[in-house]
Amino acid sequence: MMEKIICACGHENPQGTKLCEKCGRPLTEEEKDRKIVDMRYDGIAIRSKTRNKSIIDKIWNFFSSVKVGVSLIIINLVAASIGTIFPQEFYVGVATEAERAIYYEETYGSLGKLYYQLGLSDVYSSWWFQILVGLLGISIIIASLDRGIPLHKSLKNQRVKRHESFMKRQRVVAAGPVTEGDSSKTLDLVEEQMKKLKYNVRREGNAILAERGRFARYGPYINHVGLIVFLLGVMLRLLPGFYVDESIWVREGETRTIPGMDGYFIKNEKFILEMHDNEKTEAQIQQGVNAVAKNYQTNVKLYKQPEDAIPGQTDNLELVKEYSIRVNHPLQHEGYSLYQMDFRLNELKAMNFSLTNKATGEELGDVSVDLTNPQNEYVINEQTKVSLLGYYPDFSGFKDGEPQTATSTPNNPAFIFKMTTPEQPDGEVSFVAIKQTIEPNGDNAYKMKFKGVETRNMSGLTVHKDRTIPILFIGGMIFMLGVAIGSYWNHRRIWVEQLQDGSIRLAAHANKNWFNIKKDLNTITEYAHLPQFIDQVEKEEEEGQKEKEGDNTL
């Protein structure tokens, strides 16, 4: 059963209403006892407060409470701050779980270990943090529904004339005869002046309601909508296809498929690192930084496969665009963005040797081994050549007499050469690695003398696509709009009633910024010769102060 509260004016109010929706009479004992009524939601019945019976209502009421909302804000705040005590895992440059555990313990001691074990090192992707944010989201939605809708109804259905008990209990009030002139013109003067002050004026008989900036009341609800849209956008990223976040390493000269961006390939033409040529600053000296980077740049070519091509078909790539990817200047194409993220300098690209007679030092010719495409044979002339029998880009030692490679990256290249010379037509075999030469068949007459290297750089790029960005952007804009409306405008209402004897009863309410409404009141008081208004809150305080001061003199 829906209980109703019937006001003396005959209006039926829903249960929980503090001030009659129609005339404003206080309805609860608590309100009747107050000197100034609670105008926060215009005395409406907040939906959740009306009933509290079924489990659904209980949950609903829980989320609707501002107390719960504020608590959730504070809990989220504390949880977020915990994640900044030590660096989060994604800022720690180690890959595996075991390494991470060791990192936290070694760097931050037993506290670090505990931090890691509690999962605080990856707090923002933990299930409980997500739930906390989600609960805050629910609280925002429900609290807004619960307050926004009834407030809207109440503001829409406002009456012009309010009951005396409502008027007297406003913060700013005035009562008394007009101070000057003809009291029959007073209301006209008030109306005229209020309109000049850009108030929306309604007049019913001997009562006036002047209102300005009502839309400011909707600000909080609008910004909550923005927040919800934003959170929704964040959630949508989890749906497949909405969000791509991949990374690739591309060496200069290489063409690589772009992960997450089907059918597209990227070629690294050149990586450029520039440094500032300033004199060392004090801060640099203190931090032991030699030079400050000025530019990280990768010149790339973006290619696309023909429409009907399938993975692996790379012979007919079409050039889409050439671009210099720099920090703050990603390459953008069809909703994808490629960002300059990382780099590695000076990876070996080619090694130069000279076929040299060990005894005389005579050089028969140069051999340059391109590590990106080693050849079987390097011919110097008819009788002189070098055959490549083996290439191990990252030599890690021998196993069963076989050279091994640890990775495919040329960190420590090793070669097995067979050198054929006029002097040694059968050829001599030599194993050549950095700072190491092994001649399996005894003492060779010739050697591959190391001459130098050519290097290339490698760029680390990230690939992003985020189709939720427009949603997030709209959410952010709605939020900003709502916050601005709610903060920079205020809702001002002035009720004026002329009693039968010609005297005036006035009440004023502003949802904030009383300073401004008082300025308006000063204007109309002067213009329409109204009785001087008083601020009941300030009056109360001054009286309190006087009493206190009086005590002190004793």
């Binding site: 000025k294 990230t462 900003m480």
Partner: protein, 395 residues
Amino acid sequence: MNLIDLSGNLLFVAFIAYLIGTFLFGGAIKTSKPDGAEKRANTWGKLAIIVTIIGFLAQLGYFITRWIHTGHAPVSNMFEFTTAFGMFIIGAFILIYYMYRLSVLGLVALPIALLIIAYAAMFPNEVTPLVPSLQSYWLTIHVITAALGQSVLAISAVAGLIYLLKAVDPKVKSKGRFWLEAVLYFMVLVIGFVAVTVIFRGMGYEAAFTYVDKNGAQQEIIYNMPAVFGMNESELLTDNVMEPLAEMPPVINAKKLTVVFWSFIAGSILYLLIRLVTRRRILAMLHPLVQKVNLNLLDEIGYRSVLIGFPIFSLGALVFAMIWAQEAWGRFWGWDPKEVWALITWLFYAAFLHLRLSKGWEGKKSAWLALIGFAIILFNLIVVNLVIAGLHSYA
């Protein structure tokens, strides 16, 4: 005189102007004495705001000339940002002053700005070249808007502080009295920091050490104060200076800890001296100065500053930050400590507004919250930059 020297001189002029302004605002305190005291106070007040505006214009001149000289908005390192923050606080104060014409605000806002600018001056003030990620017009937009928002929010703390100076009775023992005195003590500590830095700098104190950092690499470091705490496995290179009393593990920057230690010592001595000489709490000294202020008006100013500052802060520290992060790194949010603390600041002020709107937390409670909010802003400026490493760490 070249541009950068001019810039430095303008900043100095601004500092002096704020200093004079503070005393002038002191003269503008209203007393209940008759014989035209009120009129005199008003004259002082007018003079004070004029001097403040002159200082502000001078500092704006510093800002612009430095901008022209460096080619980027001077908000890219600790010195530049903190100085600008001080300037914006003065700007926000001038704005609020003209809205409410309350000169007592200046009596607190100016010293706070002075302390912040003095604090900034303790960092290397040379022009630093920009790393690639900062080379974007978003540096200007994001940092200036965020700092502007924080400055307006700071005015709410100024109003809150004045409110509490009046509302908390220095004669009655209470939690409020203790914490308010703690806030004032903290301000003395900042003076202590400035004092020790200036003193040791004037002495030309230097002690070089080698140490082993947390990655196991050998590094060198120069202390500008006697090393109380030594870096991990540090070795002294300079002759005739103090050896560290205690060695710290690699995660702790012992140099910064040493600075904190000396500031604490100097500030505490200063505080004790004040207490011994005056035989009163600082609170008790300031309490009579604000007797005439209208608490209601202060409460309204505090609330209003949050209302004005919150949207600006949201725009600068969150919205613009996200747009820039999206452009620079392809992700609008990265849970970088500075980002997280901006979010925390934002959440805190959101809680503030809800408590005020729905729970009726006005007056004293609201004033305390404003102080806590400013403490979070300072935490983000000082601790997060200097202690917690991240993308935003300046020094």
